[in-house]
C-alpha cells in the first residue's frame, strides 16, 4: 500500500489522508454532474454541427435518381435504410487512368520528389499513405457523354472485328445489350476533379445543381516497370485514385421512406425473401430497369449530405 509518506511522519500521513479524502469527495460529488454534462455537451456539439451544415443555401442541391442513389446494404435485423452514392472514378476519355499524375499528386500534398524511374521509387511510394482531400463529382455532364462516346467507339471496333470474323456475333450482341442497359440504369455521376481546398473547387465548378464537392480519400498507385514476354518495356507508372467519397451511405429518414418501402416490398415479392437484404443487391450489377424514384440530395456548409426529398417517377 502506498498511502502515507515514506518517512513515516504522522503529520505527513495525516496530510496525505486528508488529500485522499478531499479528492475522493470531489469525484464523488462532481463525477455524476460532470459525466452528465459531458453527454449533453457532446450531443449539443454534434447536433450544432448538423444545424450549421444545413443552415442557409446548400453548397449543392442535385436531383439524382435511383441510378445514382440505389438502396444501400440492408443488414439482418436492421430496420434502418440508406441510399448509396454510386459514382464512377474514371474521368472519361483516353487519359482516364493518368489524369491524377505526379504533378497533380504533388500539388495535393503527396511527397512525389522521387522520380518513378528512380531505384528508390518502389520503397518511397510503397510507404505513402492516403490523404483526405476533396473530390468533385459531375452529374450527367461532359464526363458522362465522353464515357458514352467511348463505349460506342468500343462497340464500333468490336463490330469491325466481327465483320473480319475475329469476334462472334454473340459477343457483339452482349456488348450492345450492356450499353443499352447502362443508358437507362447506370450512374451518371463521374469524378472530374480533386483538390485540397473546397472553395477553390467550387469556384472552378460553380454549377451547384450539377457538381458535388465532397471530402474524399486519395491514394497513390505506383507500379514498378516491367518487361512483357514479347520484350516490350513497360515503364514505371505513378498515378493517384480517389478510393472513397467520405459519406457514401446516405441515411433515409422515416418521413421520406414510404416510396422506398413500397418499392422494397415489391422487390422482395419479386426476388423472394432475400430481397434487399441479399448481398447481390450490394455487390451485384446495377439494376437495369429505368429509375423508379428521384432524390433531391443537398450538401451543406460542411459538405455533408442529406436527402431533402424523394419523389416517385412514373
Amino acid at each position: 500500500m502506498k498511502g502515507g509518506t515514506q518517512d513515516g511522519s504522522g503529520r505527513g500521513d495525516l496530510m496525505a489522508r486528508a488529500d485522499v479524502i478531499a479528492r475522493g469527495d470531489f469525484m464523488a460529488r462532481a463525477g455524476l454532474p460532470l459525466a452528465l454534462g459531458l453527454i449533453l455537451v457532446t450531443n449539443a456539439v454534434a447536433l450544432g454541427g448538423v444545424a450549421m451544415n444545413r443552415r442557409g443555401t446548400p453548397d449543392a442541391a442535385l436531383t439524382l435518381t435511383e441510378r445514382e442513389l440505389p438502396p444501400g446494404y440492408v443488414g439482418e435485423e436492421d430496420t434502418g435504410l440508406s441510399l448509396r452514392l454510386d459514382w464512377d472514378g474514371r474521368a472519361g476519355g483516353e487519359d482516364s487512368d493518368d489524369w491524377l499524375d505526379r504533378d497533380r499528386l504533388q500539388s495535393l500534398g503527396f511527397d512525389c520528389s522521387v522520380p518513378p524511374d528512380d531505384p528508390r521509387a518502389e520503397l518511397h511510394y510503397g510507404k505513402v499513405l492516403p490523404l483526405q482531400r476533396y473530390a468533385v463529382l459531375e452529374f450527367e455532364g461532359e464526363s458522362w457523354r465522353r464515357w458514352l462516346a467511348d463505349q460506342e467507339k468500343e462497340i464500333e471496333t468490336l463490330r469491325a472485328r466481327v465483320a473480319r470474323h475475329r469476334e462472334t456475333e454473340q459477343t457483339l450482341k452482349e456488348r450492345e445489350a450492356r450499353l443499352a442497359a447502362d443508358r437507362v440504369g447506370r450512374s451518371r455521376l463521374f469524378l472530374v476533379d480533386v483538390g485540397g481546398d473546397p472553395a477553390d473547387l467550387r469556384r472552378l465548378h460553380p454549377d451547384r445543381a450539377r457538381f458535388i464537392v465532397a471530402p474524399a480519400v486519395v491514394r497513390i498507385d505506383f507500379s514498378a516497370g516491367w518487361k512483357s514476354p514479347d520484350g516490350t518495356d513497360h515503364p514505371p507508372r505513378l498515378n493517384g485514385q480517389v478510393s472513397e467519397i467520405l459519406v457514401q451511405e446516405i441515411h433515409v429518414p422515416l418521413s421520406l421512406r414510404p416510396i422506398l418501402d413500397q418499392l422494397r416490398r415489391a422487390d422482395e415479392k419479386a426476388a423472394g425473401p432475400a430481397g434487399w437484404s441479399s448481398l447481390e443487391r450490394r455487390y451485384g450489377p446495377v439494376a437495369i430497369h429505368p429509375p423508379r424514384y428521384e432524390v433531391i440530395l443537398s450538401y451543406g456548409r460542411r459538405l455533408e449530405p442529406w436527402i431533402a426529398e424523394i419523389r416517385r417517377l412514373s
Binding site: 500500500m1 502506498k2 498511502g3 496525505a16 488529500d19 485522499v20 479528492r23 475522493g24 469525484m27 464523488a28 463525477g31 455524476l32 460532470l34 459525466a35 452528465l36 459531458l38 453527454i39 449533453l40 457532446t42 450531443n43 454534434a46 447536433l47 454541427g49 448538423v50 451544415n53 443488414g75 435485423e77 436492421d78 430496420t79 434502418g80 435504410l81 440508406s82 500534398g109 520503397l123 518511397h124 510503397g126 510507404k127 499513405l129 492516403p130 490523404l131 483526405q132 471530402p215 480519400v217 467520405l246 459519406v247 451511405e249 446516405i250 441515411h251 429518414p253 422515416l254 418521413s255 421512406r257 460542411r302 459538405l303 455533408e304 449530405p305 442529406w306
Partner: protein, 356 residues
C-alpha cells in the same frame, strides 16, 4: 481508503494470524492470554469494519467467488452492450429522427444514473461495473448513430469524449473495466492524431503501428501522477502503456513494410526485433527494480514471444519438428533459471521487498 487498499489490509491480517500461529507453535513468540485476546478482538473488529464498509473478502473461498463474480459481470456487461446495440438497430428505422435523437441521448444518461444508483446501493461494484460499461457502450452508440443519421464525415474527435466518459466513470465509481474502456478510447484518439501528423487520412492510422507508440508513452506517464485514492489504477495504465509498445514492435518485427522508416523491410524487421528484446529486457529490469509485477510479467511474456517468433523464422522450415520443440522447451527452462537467478539477486539486494 479504497476497496483494493481495504482488501490488502484484510489479506495482511489473515497472513499475520497464520504466521503468529506458526511462531507460537515453534515457541519463537509467545503472547500472554490477555495480549492474544486483545489482538484477536482488534483484528476481528477491523475485519468486521472492513467487510462492512468495503465488502472485502476475508477467506480464500470468498476470494475465489469474487473472481467468478468479476468474470461474470464482465461477460454480462459485454452481452448487455451488444443487446443495446442490436436492439437499437432492430427498431431505429421505425422511429422519426427526433425520436431517434432523444433515444440516443437518453440511453447513456439512464445508464449513468443506473451506475450511480448501483454504486450507492451495492458496495461490491459488480452491478455498477455492468451498468457503467453499458452506459459507456450507449455513449459510443449515441455518437456513432448520430454520425449515421446525419451523414457526418467520420472524425477521430469522437474518441475524446468517449475517453473522458470512461475516465469519469472509472474515477467516480472505481471499476477498472471502465478505466480500460477510457484508456482504449484515449489510445484510439492519440494514435489517430499521431497518424494525422504525417498528413495521412486518420482512418489509415492503423497502417503504421508506430502511431501507437505515442499512446503507449502517454499511458506509461500517467501513473507518475499520484493515485493515492485509486492505487489499483496505475498497474492498468502500465499494462496498456506497455502493450502500446510491445504489440506495435511485434508487428513491425514481422511486417517491416508497415513502418514509417524509409528502409528496406528486412532492415526494419531486424531493427524492431532488436528493439523488442531491448524493450522487454528493460521492462523486466524496471519491473523487478520498482516492484511492478505486471511490468515484469508483461516484459517476460513478450521476451518469450519475440524469441519464439524469431526461432520460428529461423528454423521452422528446415529443422525437424521434434528438434524445434525440444529447443523451445530447452530455452524455456533456460529462461526459468535466468529469471530465478534474477529473482534471487533482487531479493538479496532488496530484502524489504519480500513482503511488499
Amino acid at each position: 481508503m479504497s476497496n483494493p487498499e481495504a482488501q490488502k489490509r484484510a489479506d495482511r491480517i489473515r497472513s499475520f494470524r497464520d504466521e503468529l500461529r506458526q511462531l507460537e507453535a515453534e515457541e519463537i513468540l509467545l503472547l500472554t492470554d490477555a495480549q492474544r485476546e486483545r489482538l484477536s478482538r482488534y483484528h476481528d473488529q477491523t475485519l468486521r469494519d472492513l467487510a462492512g464498509r468495503f465488502d472485502v473478502d476475508t477467506t480464500d473461498a470468498q476470494k475465489q467467488m469474487s473472481w467468478g463474480m468479476r468474470i461474470a459481470s464482465f461477460l454480462g456487461a459485454l452481452a448487455l452492450c451488444a443487446a443495446v446495440f442490436l436492439f437499437f438497430r432492430r427498431f431505429w428505422g421505425l422511429l422519426s429522427t427526433p425520436t431517434q435523437v432523444a433515444v440516443l441521448l437518453a440511453a447513456p444518461i439512464l445508464g449513468l444514473l443506473g451506475t450511480h444508483l448501483a454504486a450507492r446501493r451495492d458496495r461490491t461494484l459488480y452491478f455498477a461495473s455492468i451498468l457503467g460499461l453499458v452506459a459507456f457502450g450507449c455513449f459510443v452508440l449515441d455518437l456513432m448513430m448520430l454520425g449515421d443519421i446525419f451523414n457526418i464525415t467520420p472524425s477521430p474527435k469522437a474518441f475524446l469524449p468517449w475517453a473522458a466518459f470512461g475516465f469519469l466513470l472509472a474515477y467516480t465509481y472505481g471499476p477498472r473495466i471502465l478505466l480500460a474502456a477510457g484508456i482504449l478510447a484515449l489510445s484510439g484518439w492519440l494514435s489517430a492524431t499521431t497518424g494525422t501528423w504525417s498528413g495521412c487520412y486518420w482512418l489509415s492510422f492503423g497502417e503504421r503501428p508506430e502511431n501507437f507508440l505515442v499512446a503507449g508513452a502517454v499511458l506509461l506517464a500517467i501513473p507518475l501522477v499520484p493515485h493515492r485514492d485509486r492505487p489499483d489504477f496505475p498497474p492498468i495504465y502500465r499494462i496498456f502503456g506497455l502493450l502500446g509498445f510491445f504489440l506495435p514492435i511485434l508487428v513491425l518485427a514481422n511486417w517491416g513494410d508497415t513502418s514509417y522508416l524509409m528502409l528496406a523491410h528486412k532492415a526494419v524487421e531486424s531493427f524492431y526485433q532488436i528493439a523488442g528484446f531491448v524493450v522487454a529486457g528493460l521492462a523486466i529490469a524496471f519491473g523487478i527494480r520498482r516492484g511492478f509485477r505486471e511490468v515484469t510479467n508483461l516484459g517476460c511474456t513478450f521476451f518469450v514471444i519475440d524469441l519464439y517468433t524469431k526461432f520460428f523464422d529461423w528454423w521452422w522450415d528446415w529443422m525437424p519438428k521434434y528438434l524445434f520443440f525440444l529447443i523451445l522447451g530447452g530455452v524455456a527452462v533456460g529462461l526459468l533459471l535466468l529469471l530465478k537467478r534474477l529473482r534471487a539477486l533482487s531479493l538479496g539486494a532488496r530484502p524489504e521487498r519480500r513482503f511488499a
